[in-house]
């Protein structure tokens, strides 16, 4: 039972890293970016291909995946996303779905539609077991690694958002673009940087998750719904909301698939609908922020 909880937490942490960038674009910049999964896929594929074809060590792949997706995010933000900021949500949804379709077909064309297998380094393959019987806790080393990386990232993000100058600029730009611009904050640059970091985090999540979630060209469509659930349920005004939502979702999904495999993803979707009908703005909402 503890093992399931542990796996659920690892899965939830992974989802959080994948989704946190989306929480920022969607909640803070008010842009519904369904193509977020495509950035995650870029990170995942960069890692898998580097490791398969060039034998780059796993730990080096992670920052490369981050940088690649962040650069891609920055370029796309500047060229394609920015003109769409003030458009209706429906336009943004259609645009980003279009991007996703293109990404899926392009990866299929260049790499092939089969699922990519990743060889983890030896020191991440083991498994440690503590305790006995029903309370036995089995920790895969890789999952332990994921939890550690994600926890570190979460703390760093929280610190950047609440304690640094950039964080306060971002929060100001988000709460009122015009006033922020009037105070001499370059809103465009702030948004560009934020979007790039969000995409980079997605890429990093994809790289970390390539082994757990599986990498094939349908990845962005398959996991899009999960990212969206994390963001919608968690509320978009802080990063603790999405974090808790991601953990909840991860645990519910792993436990549901383990105990009642017949129902599958059914539990997660129902949970989401109930929560959203009950609290349309998400579970954790900052008071006074813009909805």
């Amino acid at each position: 039972m503890l093992t399931i909880l542990f796996d659920g937490i690892a899965y939830g942490m992974l989802l959080f890293i994948l989704a946190v960038g989306l929480a920022v674009t969607m909640g803070l910049m008010n842009f519904v970016n369904l193509a977020h999964g495509a950035f995650a896929m870029v990170g995942g594929y960069v890692t898998v291909l580097l490791m398969q074809r060039l034998d780059v060590p796993f730990l080096l792949c992670l920052p490369i995946a981050f940088v690649t997706s962040a650069l891609l995010g920055a370029v796309l933000e500047r060229t394609l996303y920015r003109p769409l900021y003030n458009r209706p949500h429906l336009d943004q949804v259609m645009f980003s779905i279009g991007l996703t379709f293109m990404a899926v077909a392009a990866v299929d064309y260049f790499v092939g539609s089969t699922q990519q297998i990743m060889q983890l380094p030896e020191w991440l393959k083991g498994r440690t077991e503590i305790g006995e019987g029903a309370w036995m806790l089995g920790m895969g080393h890789y999952r332990l690694f994921i939890i550690a990386v994600c926890a570190a990232l979460t703390i760093a993000l929280q610190h950047i958002l609440t304690k640094t100058r950039f964080g306060s600029r971002l929060r100001a730009s988000v709460d009122d673009q015009r006033v922020a611009a009037g105070l001499g904050i370059n809103v465009n640059v702030v948004f560009l940087a934020t979007f790039a970091v969000g995409s980079g985090l997605a890429g990093l999540g994809g790289a970390l998750g390539a082994d757990v979630l599986g990498m094939d060209p349908t990845f962005p469509l398959k996991f899009m719904i999960y990212f969206l659930i994390v963001v919608a349920v968690g509320g978009t005004s802080s990063i603790t909301g999405p974090l808790l939502a991601a953990l909840l979702l991860g645990i519910a999904d792993v436990a549901g698939k383990y105990y009642i495999p017949k129902l599958g993803a059914f539990i997660v979707y129902s949970l989401m609908i109930i929560i959203l009908v009950w609290r349309p703005q998400g579970l954790f909402v900052r008071k006074g922020g813009k909805a």
Partner: protein
């Protein structure tokens, strides 16, 4: 969006004129009805276009006229398809009877789901509608004793239409059947959106707060519009199941809802012919592109979407504005 500007339309004559039939419309429908027999080799795709057009028509009622975004309209489509297929397989093979039952079932489902679209922002609505579609897909997948699971529901035999016209292999009967249903639903939808009730929907679409302030019961209006649209989508699904004799998980798939929004955007929202035109353009494009590159046609659809959104739909369908100054666009950007 494409809704007419009502500020200048303060007299009833203008409102009534919008609902009047024009001669060219009747001509178009007459041509449409003759198509399955004239272009008998293309009857299958004509049938498909008619079904998708009906599906788009139903989405237009909630998206174009009421302003409710939905990415899960396939839920009702799929419900209709499975209901019609199961009904004909186990109870009664008569197509019209099955169509009516499918419509009733999906209308009831729509009424239940209409609770979920009342609150929250666009994002919440996108999520909830998408979630309902996914839940139904999971159900259809897991209840394999009833629905056949991932293999789909096979061996649906339809009785002859009105007891006389058999469904044949070429699909001429099927296409005519679908077009007639589409036409009837189109007439009804037209009555619906041009009625005083429809005007209140447009008011809600333009400004919900203002609609509330002038005494329109917003919540119940949205619920009714959503329910009606669900019923129409269910009929489209039923037509698909009946004319192909098959229902599979594919009817619930996310891409079906996404494609639907896409084709409605191509044709134009808030204009009933938009769905029909979008359906024709989309299906013909899909047919043409996938015959050239069967595997990668989604790439071209994606590219088309991206360009369409970046350039703006208005400018793509009106090529003569390409080189003019877009003053309205600039104003929008500055605001």
């Amino acid at each position: 969006m494409n809704t007419p500007d009502f500020s200048s339309m303060n007299n009833t004559n203008i409102l009534m004129r919008a609902g009047r039939w024009r001669w060219w419309e009747l001509l178009l429908w007459a041509v449409a009805l003759s198509l399955p027999w004239v272009m008998n080799t293309h009857a299958l795709i004509i049938n498909e276009i008619a079904i998708v057009a009906l599906f788009a028509l139903s989405l237009d009622i909630i998206l174009g006229y009421t302003g409710i975004v939905s990415l899960g309209h396939a839920a009702f489509f799929g419900m209709g398809a499975y209901t019609a297929a199961l009904f004909s397989k186990h109870i009664n093979p008569d197509p019209l009877f099955g169509l009516a039952v499918a419509m009733v079932v999906s209308t009831v489902l729509g009424a239940i789901c209409s609770v979920t679209v009342q609150r929250g922002t666009d994002l919440t609505r996108l999520m909830v509608t998408m979630g309902v579609g996914l839940i139904l897909m999971e159900l259809a997948n897991k209840l394999d004793w009833l629905t056949g699971g991932a293999d789909g529901l096979q061996g649906v035999m339809m009785g002859p239409l009105l007891g006389r016209f058999e469904f044949d292999l070429y699909g001429s009967t099927a296409a005519t059947y679908s077009i007639v249903v589409l036409f009837i639903m189109f007439v009804l939808a037209r009555r619906f959106v041009n009625s005083p009730f429809g005007s209140t929907l447009k008011a809600i679409h333009d400004n919900r707060l203002r609609a509330m302030a002038i005494g329109i019961p917003v919540a119940s209006r949205i619920a009714v519009a959503y329910t009606v649209a669900a019923g129409a989508a269910g009929m489209a699904g039923a037509l698909l199941a009946q004319t192909t004799g098959f229902a599979s998980l594919d009817v619930f798939e996310f891409h079906r809802s996404a494609d639907l929004v896409l084709l409605l955007v191509i044709g134009g929202v808030g204009w009933l012919y938009g769905g029909v035109i979008g359906a024709i353009v989309f299906k013909v494009l899909q047919d043409a592109i996938s015959s050239i590159t069967p595997q990668y046609w989604t790439f071209w659809i994606g590219l088309f979407l991206v360009v369409l959104m970046l350039v703006g739909r208005e400018r793509v369908v009106r090529p003569w504005t390409w080189f003019g100054t877009s003053s309205s666009k600039k104003k929008e950007g500055a605001a």
